[in-house]
Symmetry: C2
């Protein structure tokens, strides 16, 4: 019975569930949900299909869990914006726009996970759809709150405008129709915020 000793100095592998989610995140983002098979995720996670189905009931459940993580990342950007600019809602909104603007180069390669998932999962009863819906509703609520705090005359309308612009910048970055989308996005958001101060 030779005990297989783990090599010293080698970083311990994460538990399977984490490795699976990491692999799923990379593959779903770079190649799309429907193009990536469970087998491919298992290989990338250095495990097997069986291990995946021990942690997730179906592939759809794995997709939903992945989107839950992505949504949490985006909400964390809201948290950071609020934490780094307390009581300065205008700066919070700009920080948020900067977060999106800085992500555009990556987005241009493969697109926004939420927009893509909506396209890839037309079934409205898919568990991932609910995750997206809730995330977007929360995002809008927080943005409206920031706009109100910033003293914009019509917070709902301003939040809608900022939302459109942020989403549109991601779409345009992806399809390549607009040059320098990041710079343009920042100028636009600044313009929206400045208009209230005139």
């Amino acid at each position: 019975m030779t005990a297989t000793v783990r090599r010293p100095g080698r970083v311990a592998k994460l538990p399977p569930r984490e490795r699976i989610l990491d692999a799923a995140e990379e593959l779903f983002q770079s190649e799309g949900i429907r193009r990536v098979g469970v087998q491919a995720i298992a290989e990338r996670a250095e495990t097997t299909k069986m291990a995946i189905y021990r942690h997730f009931a179906t592939k759809d459940a794995l997709v939903a869990e992945w989107l839950r993580i992505v949504a949490a990342d985006y909400q964390a950007a809201f948290d950071r914006a609020e934490a780094e600019h307390p009581d300065r809602p205008r700066e919070q909104i700009l920080a948020l726009a900067r977060f999106i603007a800085e992500g555009l180069p990556a987005i241009s390669y493969r697109g926004c996970p939420f927009i893509n998932s909506l396209a890839e999962l037309p079934d409205r009863s898919h568990p991932a759809r609910q995750v997206i819906e809730e995330h977007k509703a929360l995002q809008t609520r927080r943005l409206v709150g920031m706009c109100a705090a910033a003293g914009l005359p019509d917070p709902e309308q301003a939040a809608a405008e900022i939302t459109f612009v942020l989403e549109g910048a991601q779409v345009s970055a992806h399809n390549g129709s607009i040059a320098q989308p990041g710079e343009r996005l920042m100028r636009i958001v600044e313009g929206i915020l400045d208009r209230a101060n005139r």
Copy 2:
């Protein structure tokens, strides 16, 4: 090369190629490209898979041809805007925005074909990608021209802003994050155009 017309009268079936494209349009739009099989298209078109492969080399070629038609529809909206408001670029842009705004209820059900196709076809060498790229480039060029003709101080920037807003309205209509996206969209575009006149 005269088109072979089968029978006079409204009841006559269209030729197979047209029926195939009609069926593909409905199915791709409502259920997504990858979810719809060639067999399903054939059934909807009241023909067979073989007939499809007699008119289109591959499914990918059929997808590209479908997007070519959709792109032509959008470009036709530009044409109409120009024809109905000659020498009034501001009205042309508003007509365009109205065209998008009026399409939002349909978009909210399943999303914009170009955005969805980009998500569903991550392979950058897919023939449909070139169709989308050219369409979006042409759209931007025409919009910049309209903005310049409207006397907006920075036509590229204004065109970028309008593009972002139009695309973002479609995304937001699809994910349901913004109420009344059509009305909001029109107010935003009017605001962009009015800002130059102040």
